[in-house]
Symmetry: C2
Subunit: 506 residues, 2 copies
């Protein structure tokens, strides 16, 4: 006789797997839109995506699902929250409640405003016209407040929004850790600016033929453990990673023939995301034990491979001979140390997506502070450009000459994404904290990396992180692995250790 609770759980899982099929079809539509869609096919593609999104939403909010989950949450199957069943029930219930708490009218209004907002933003940025964007941002802030209120929160509105991207994380924690990070980084960045040393970046601005970039990038991705038989690499405008099935993880990049890091480090970054997706339990695809924990943990994987591994001296000890073969003209006579310094160019700049790994977090902290102020009504939209400039001056020592390279540079707010930015820095923080632990657990990684042995780190990550899906919340997972809660020290230590000799700091 089958346990009736188990039968109910089986039914829910079958339902979720069907939903995942629709979601993966929608993701293929989106991947294709960003890689191969013919120019005139965009309008119908939007209709296809919207229709599938509607079907998916219906399935996610099916009231039968709510009833079953409510009953299962009280059953013995839910007793151990870290078991496969416990994780499934907890996370599906959490998702169901989140989706059903929001009135349909608000969901529709948010969607409409996000589409419209992005259109207006594109033009406003192009025309350097913050005033044209301000009304829609005001509306967005107002709707995001309503959304937070409908979802509910204990401490602050920001918690409710953050929860979409970093479940179970608290704004107060992030505020504390990022403030400490800021206090360490701002003087470090200042010291680098004052050092008078500049990285020889012109090495990277020679001609790097695209075909050779692709070949080297694929080799590097495969070396760190991205499995090409279960994935692909394609070209796009804004690199991303998506998984269209348990064995179908697709990464993308863009190549700049005159700037080597653009393509190469995008590939490493996205391959890092891809290695995470490929490490999730494939038989649980579409179910919580087969899903990624949080955006912060996802970003920790991409950042670790991109920066802690890919910008390390030992990585290039291994790969530089291959790079010299791939680019015999550009790298003719270039010493490894010069190349290594060039890919670790650190200096304050205006654009987040072009920032180096040290200053990047200051860009995030600025946005994180500003969006909290907007939501809490401590800052009006009309005062935002001024506040933006003040913080850039304060934390980075520079100021945008105009809003297009300032407050208008990111798509996020126009698309209704508030509470998203801190996950980028969480990624850097988690990456450093986890990397330090991996290095200790694996008896020192440097020598191994210098020999091209990267897979042992991938196996460690699979074992400690990927294999667990959503069984543990992000913070819980990291504490379980490292024995410590989220902490800014490993990241500042890592950056100081690397940058002090490069910039000859005291």
């Amino acid at each position: 006789m089958t346990d009736p609770h188990q039968a109910m759980l089986d039914k829910i899982c079958a339902h979720a797997r069907e939903t995942a099929i629709l979601e993966s079809a929608q993701q293929l539509l989106e991947w294709d839109e960003r890689t191969y869609l013919p120019p005139e096919a965009g309008e119908y593609r939007a209709e296809q995506v919207a229709y599938l999104a509607g079907l998916i939403h219906q399935r996610h909010t099916d009231p039968r699902l709510g009833d079953w989950l409510a009953e299962l949450a009280e059953s013995p199957l839910a007793a151990d929250p870290h078991s496969e069943a416990g994780c499934t029930i907890r996370q599906m219930r959490r998702e169901y409640e989140k989706k059903t708490k929001l009135p349909e009218s608000l969901v529709k209004e948010l969607t409409r405003l996000s589409v419209r907002g992005q259109q207006v933003w594109v033009l406003a940025r192009k025309n350097n016209d913050f005033a044209a964007f301000a009304p829609i941002l005001t509306q967005t802030v107002s709707l995001k407040r309503q959304e937070a209120d409908a979802l509910g929160y204990e401490d602050c509105r920001y918690d409710a929004l953050l929860d979409f991207y970093e479940p179970d994380e608290k704004t107060a924690t992030i505020r504390r850790v990022l403030a400490a990070l800021r206090d360490d980084l701002a003087p470090l960045v200042q010291a680098i600016a004052d050092s008078g040393r500049t990285a020889p970046v012109s090495i990277l601005e020679r001609i790097y033929p695209v075909a050779a970039q692709e070949a080297l990038g694929k080799e590097a991705a495969a070396r760190i453990g991205f499995e090409f038989p279960r994935g692909r690499l394609d070209v796009t405008h804004h690199p991303f990673c998506t998984s269209l099935g348990p064995h179908d993880t697709r990464i993308t990049t863009r190549y700049d023939e005159r700037f080597f890091p653009s393509g190469f480090f995008s590939i490493l970054h996205e391959a890092g995301h891809g290695v995470y997706d490929q490490g999730l339990p494939s038989e649980q695809f579409g179910l919580p034990p087969g899903r990624y924990v949080s955006l912060g943990i996802h970003e920790s994987q991409s950042r670790m491979w991109e920066n802690m591994v890919g910008r390390s001296r030992v990585f290039w000890e291994f790969l530089f001979p291959a790079a010299k073969q791939a680019f015999p003209d550009a790298l003719d006579g270039v010493p490894l140390d010069q190349f290594y310094f060039a890919v670790n160019d650190v200096r304050p700049s205006l654009i987040r997506v072009e920032a180096d790994e040290a200053t990047y977090n200051l860009h995030i902290i600025i946005r994180f502070e500003l969006e909290q102020d907007l939501l809490d009504d401590n800052l009006s939209v009309s005062d935002l450009p001024g506040a933006w400039s003040d913080k850039y001056r304060q934390y980075l020592g520079i100021e945008p000459p105009h809003d297009a390279d300032g407050v208008l540079q990111d798509v996020h707010w126009s698309a209704g994404l508030m509470g998203y930015f801190p996950t980028y820095s969480l990624g850097n923080l988690y990456a450093a904290q986890l990397f330090r632990q991996a290095d200790a657990d694996l008896g020192g990684l440097e020598k191994k990396f210098a020999r091209g042995e990267f897979l042992l780190l991938r196996e460690w990550l699979r074992d400690k992180i990927h294999a667990h899906g959503q069984r543990y919340a992000a913070g819980e997972l990291v504490e379980r692995i490292t024995g410590k809660p989220l902490d800014h020290k490993p990241l500042t230590d890592y950056l100081r250790d690397k940058l002090t000799p490069l910039y000859e700091l005291a």
Copy 2:
């Protein structure tokens, strides 16, 4: 006040457009499977396709749809069968009735057998083992008989199956026309074999770099009117064309560096299909006035561009200079006439998909005759290989040395596709009949083609064929355009006129 019938029709059309979104998502999954899918992603892709197929089938057989269509069929909106509304109601009702006549158990059994059949066939062909395939073919024939009986027919079972691919066409008509074609072609092919002349095909077996093939193929496709802003060209194993939206038509090819025609004529062929799809009324996408008429008409478009245009002397008068630039080594010193003869190599061969435009139809006629005999129980599966050899000897003067290159060469029967083969020859017949009419209507095409003016033929086809979607049945459409019913004479005249001088026949 809205007419209640019109309101009902609007509802049906909205329903059909939603179904078309799911169908186009399924087609993207299939396009991707045949172009870019990672090797290990096939299993989940099959699940995705099967799940969407189920949703689509549910929508097609929704009983509400049947009720509405039955009522509309009696309404004034259906009075003119060639009007937009009349066509929509007639064709949707036809589709609904076809889909609901089949018991679900039979549909599932056919699907199951088709999947299994293809798996068994792949192995049987590889091992040259007809006996391994025979039991599944026997089952398939039996189920196809049940399917025909469930659908109903007046004259013969084959009519019921043919109707899937060539709606409203009759087996008796095809039998008569193909018999006349066979009687003309067999002696023509024999005369060519006896002529002692052979085309200088070795010209085409030199090295043709793939990148240059792609560039020339794209140029040719664009010249004949395939719109790349609304389409793409990609690489696959078995070339095909698919439309994923009203402005998203994708063609595919495969390149053989050592055989120029393989890639080039596949591109022209698929571009011909693509030009048809791109010419269908885009605002009617997913509705009968926006859908292709029949496989025969679709194939007539691809064959016309591939053969009547693409293998004509005037086409190469125009394109040969570009080809010489693209392949300076391979075509060094090659005269146009030699190249023209080489791409019109005609000789009996064993494999249908490699056959030239004259012998191709004999391959089809053999399959058409044999599958009728199987369905009518005039031929047992165990006697099929012998019957195959007899007909090849009789019509083409050659015999397969083994079944792998004989009766096991095509996937169709293993996939349950019976009644499909004649649409290939219908394509050739319609192409010749329509091309003759276009030539007359447009005052002679040769001089224009020699100058690279192909778009006037495309416009003629759009006006006469593409713009009508399914408003007229295939036979009706051709008779309306040419003033005559389906006839074998234009095709035999075309082939005789072209091949007589090339092979110096009497």
